[in-house]
């Protein structure tokens, strides 16, 4: 059972600390914050005192005071120099921890695309939610299929861009179990702000069990029959596939993004630019997933990638069962 421990040790400025690096980063953050408060309050007080003591009427000349003082000016050049060098060192040291994964890290591949996340585990299972074992270092290998995205988990204090054409890496070790927000923080087009998902951190045993179940879900799934429970299972799997593979272009709300919406698709009559009209039945949907170019919806380009060879039969069936639920 996943237990949400949100705000366990959150503060005014920072969200909950849920990774090994978070306390160190927060400590530096608060050190700089207090330093800023001291400097700002000091400057504001001096400003207020001067404003109060030295305000004058028009025409009133200023009092005599030196126009420069090398000693004073050197002082306030040297002190900030020392202060910023200290901050640099602290930030640099923390950054080394942030970029150096321990050798035994658990590896998960991340594929970002407009506008969804796909997390692939060592056993080949892919998921749109990032499940991780808690209290164990996790290393992510990030790539992007289209434009630059950025993976950000505020609770872990980590962020890394997913750049097309190259791999980037990040690592973290969750110290709390629970669900945490995962955002895309590099602007990537229309639905950038919807490119969010969750990180689910579990006990390593629970994680291992989840992963095995998730990978075997198709194998354990009975053949489709009339049992509403089985139909529901199929639709749920279809919904997950939708989130990873289809949601970038096909909405479920009736809105046109880059392609026809899935809302009310099943059973409706479709018009095509290269084929006669047809009712969207199981066979049509199957064909459209495997060979999308065979019948191209009127008003849209032939841009959808073919999924032949990429989805298993049961997954296609699941997808169709899911589409049936979108009335």
């Amino acid at each position: 059972m996943i237990h949400v421990l949100a705000n366990a040790n959150a503060s005014l400025w920072m969200p909950e600390q849920a990774s090994t690096v978070a306390p160190d980063i927060d400590q530096i953050f608060y050190f700089i914050l207090w330093l800023c408060v001291v400097f700002f309050v000091g400057i504001a007080i001096v400003l207020a005192i001067f404003a109060w003591k030295f305000h004058g009427k028009p025409g009133q000349p200023a009092q005599k005071a030196p126009a420069h003082s090398t000693a004073l000016e050197m002082t306030w050049t040297v002190i900030p120099t020392i202060v910023v060098m200290v901050i640099f060192y602290m930030g640099f040291r923390g950054y080394l921890d942030l970029t150096t994964p321990p050798p035994n890290a658990y590896e998960i591949r991340v594929t970002a695309s407009m506008w969804s996340w796909q997390f692939t585990y060592p056993n080949g299972h892919s998921d749109s939610v990032l499940h991780i074992p808690a209290n164990r270092p996790v290393r992510l290998i990030l790539e992007s299929k289209d434009v630059i995205h950025s993976l950000y988990v505020p609770a872990f204090r980590v962020k890394k861009d997913c750049v097309p054409g190259r791999f980037t890496y990040m690592w973290f070790e969750a110290t709390l179990q629970g669900e945490f927000d995962l955002f895309c923080t590099e602007y990537c087009g229309a639905q950038h702000s919807m490119m969010i998902t969750k990180v689910v951190a579990q006990e390593p045993e629970a994680f291992a069990k989840w992963l095995e179940d998730a990978a075997n879900v198709l194998a354990k799934l009975p053949e489709l029959n009339d049992d509403p429970e089985v139909v529901k299972q199929y639709a749920e799997i279809g919904s997950k596939i939708y989130n990873m593979r289809c949601s970038a272009c096909h909405s479920t709300t009736g809105t046109i993004v880059n392609a026809p919406s899935f809302k009310g698709l099943f059973g409706s009559t479709r018009s095509f630019s290269n084929a006669p009209d047809q009712v969207a039945d199981e066979e049509y949907l199957r064909e459209s997933i495997l060979i999308p170019g065979a019948k191209v919806a009127k008003g849209f380009g032939n841009v959808m990638p073919a999924f032949a060879g990429q989805l298993k039969d049961k997954e296609i069936t699941a997808m169709i069962e899911y589409l049936k639920t979108l009335k």
């Binding site: 200023a62 950000y152 890394k160 923080t185 229309a190």
Partner: protein
């Protein structure tokens, strides 16, 4: 009293729109459109910049209103809401950066003030100056046309040609390969605007080298000129890099030559290096002139010699130079090597030092001064406080490990608004007030000026301070919709934005009121000693009848207050400069 100070022009000029003022020298619309007079060009820039500011500001309020609720606020269809929001934030950022802040102080105030501060008749190349103005207009029209049609099209569901939704940063490969945006015309607009900026920079550099009057050594130049000089150097050196980058973008988008898109064999990170190689120095194009204006305002309205002149002058140049070697701090999460990140982090902190020096010097200038609480000084004090917050929050972002969680969140949004708006634009507004009597020959309403300045200050902090917390709590920037837990921060910020908007409208009303009803301004209402206060308000067409000689620009002892004209009159004694 000696009459030997004939180098100083007559001081008790008729205080109204004198028949000899540049406003009256010629009449008719063409006398403006093809003028070579730097003062008229400056005013035309001012109008263009303020109009752009109104446009960008209006869409800022629309953005804040959209963010009142986590889901769509204006739109029923979420998909339209995303499109609308993305076009709006692109418009806001692009207009504010390229059409408002970059040209604000140099092109509008600088054009008007710089030649007069030099005791010159005009800038070195008046025709080039007019050309840069028209390049600004053409670039702005391109830009605004593209941006507006995107916003209008997505707001009303009208089928217009595409707008621009890439953000002002044009990050590749989204901008070159994916965005259904009018990237090419927008880039062309920015390209043309860049030339306007380069030509102004060349003009100012030449003017400062060639036109300085007798007695004005480099270290007797007003600090605004030092700041404008540093700015111009950056404009001339950095803007061509932007132009090249935009051409490459153009080549990839239009001709499909692979430069930035890996699908075509390019490298998207390369774009970020090129882009920030210009756009980080551009931050100093924005803030350096503001620092120059503040140096003038603080000294004149404290009636006291600027403290540590040389340190301020050197720090302007130091900032201009350091500004060129810190661009990589925009890319700490991009995957560039940890070593590169460490070097850029170290270099970034070096900019903090000259910035801190300036703040301490301004404070010391006020020490034992005779501080006048008028509107320009209100903006001077606002600037110091806001710039300190903007600068100090830069320390969080320079520190590598702390930068990682804060990068691309509202913390950054708040930080650069404190620097860009809280500092650069406050200095611009303060500078307009400071030189308003000189430019238009009229006084504004002081009480209204102070009340609006305080409203702007409160509204600004109300809007943006909370964004620091929203950002460190994890709220990403450029989000049309957001998760519920950030709603309180957004609502507070939006409420503040309306207050800020009201304050700025009050400023505008005050200026319009002054133009219509303002009392005539004396030649020197503040007792400043830089050369513009030595000529009439508004200045005659030629600025000075005879080339003036100058002493120390920050020595105010020869100016005596005359209650009857509410201004200062020179005692006629020669200004013997102290040895430096």
């Amino acid at each position: 009293m000696s009459t030997s100070s004939s180098n100083i022009p007559p001081l008790h000029e008729p205080p109204s729109l004198a028949s000899s003022s540049f406003f009256n020298a010629k009449r008719g619309i063409m006398s403006w459109l093809i003028t070579l007079d730097h003062k008229r060009i400056g005013i035309m820039y001012l109008i263009g910049i303020l109009a752009s500011f109104a446009l960008g500001g209006f869409f800022a309020l629309m953005l804040r209103t959209e963010l009142l609720t986590p889901g769509p606020t204006f739109m029923k269809e979420t998909n339209d809401a995303w499109k609308f929001y993305n076009h709006m934030f692109t418009l806001h950022g692009a207009v504010m950066v390229f059409l408002v802040i970059i040209p604000s102080i140099p092109a509008a105030l600088g054009n008007f003030i710089l030649p007069i501060m030099l005791g010159a008749k005009d800038v070195a190349f008046p025709r080039l100056n007019l050309l840069s103005f028209y390049l600004y207009v053409i670039g702005a029209l391109f830009f605004v046309w593209v941006l507006i049609r995107g916003v209008v099209g997505s707001a009303f569901g009208i089928d217009l040609p595409p707008g621009l939704d890439t953000g002002w940063t044009f990050y590749t490969p989204y901008s070159t390969s994916r965005a259904e945006s009018a990237v090419i015309p927008a880039v062309l607009g920015a390209f043309i605007l860049g030339f306007s900026s380069i030509l102004t920079g060349i003009n100012f550099i030449a003017s400062i080298h060639l036109l300085r009057p007798k007695g004005m050594t480099w270290f007797r130049m007003p600090l605004l000129l030092w700041a404008l000089y540093g700015t111009s150097v950056i404009q001339v050196l950095a803007t061509p890099v932007l132009a090249i980058t935009l051409l490459l973008l153009f080549a990839e988008r239009w001709l499909h030559i692979g430069i930035f898109d890996p699908a075509l064999g390019g490298d998207p990170i390369l774009f970020q290096h090129f882009f920030w190689f210009y756009s980080h120095p551009a931050v100093y194009i924005m803030i350096l002139p503001a620092m120059g204006v503040i140096s003038e305002i603080i000294s004149v309205h404290s009636r006291k010699h600027i403290f540590g002149y040389k340190f301020i002058a050197y720090s302007s140049i130091a900032i201009a130079l350091f500004g060129f070697v810190v661009w990589g701090h925009h890319m700490f999460t991009s995957g560039q090597s940890p070593l590169t990140n460490a070097i850029f982090s170290l270099l970034t902190f070096s900019v903090a030092i000259p910035s801190a020096v300036k703040v301490f010097n301004w404070l010391s200038t006020m020490y034992k001064g005779s501080i006048q609480f008028n509107t320009p000084m209100m903006y001077g004090i606002s600037f110091i406080l806001l710039f300190v917050i903007g600068g100090l929050t830069g320390l969080f972002l320079g520190a590598l490990s702390v930068n990682i969680p804060l990068h691309d969140t509202y913390f950054i949004v708040a930080h650069f608004h404190y620097v860009m708006m809280g500092s650069a634009l406050m200095a611009f507004i303060g500078g307009i007030y400071h030189w308003w009597p000189k430019i238009f020959g009229k006084m504004y309403n002081e009480k209204m000026g102070i009340i609006s300045a305080i409203t702007v200050f409160i509204g600004f902090n109300w809007t943006f301070f909370i964004q620091f917390i929203a950002g460190s709590q994890g709220m990403p920037r450029r989000y049309a919709t957001y998760v519920d837990k950030y709603q309180t921060y957004h609502q507070i910020s939006t409420a503040g934005a309306y207050v800020l908007g009201i304050g700025l409208v009050m400023v505008l009303i005050n200026w319009i009121h002054s133009l219509l009803r303002g009392k005539p301004a004396p030649a020197n209402p503040w007792g400043g000693n830089t050369l513009e206060w030595h000529c009439a308000s508004p200045p005659p067409l030629e600025n000075f009848a005879k080339a003036p000689t100058v002493g120390d620009p920050y020595s105010y002892k020869h100016w005596q207050y005359d209650e009857s004209i509410k201004g200062y009159v020179h005692d006629g004694l020669p200004d013997v400069p102290k040895k430096h």
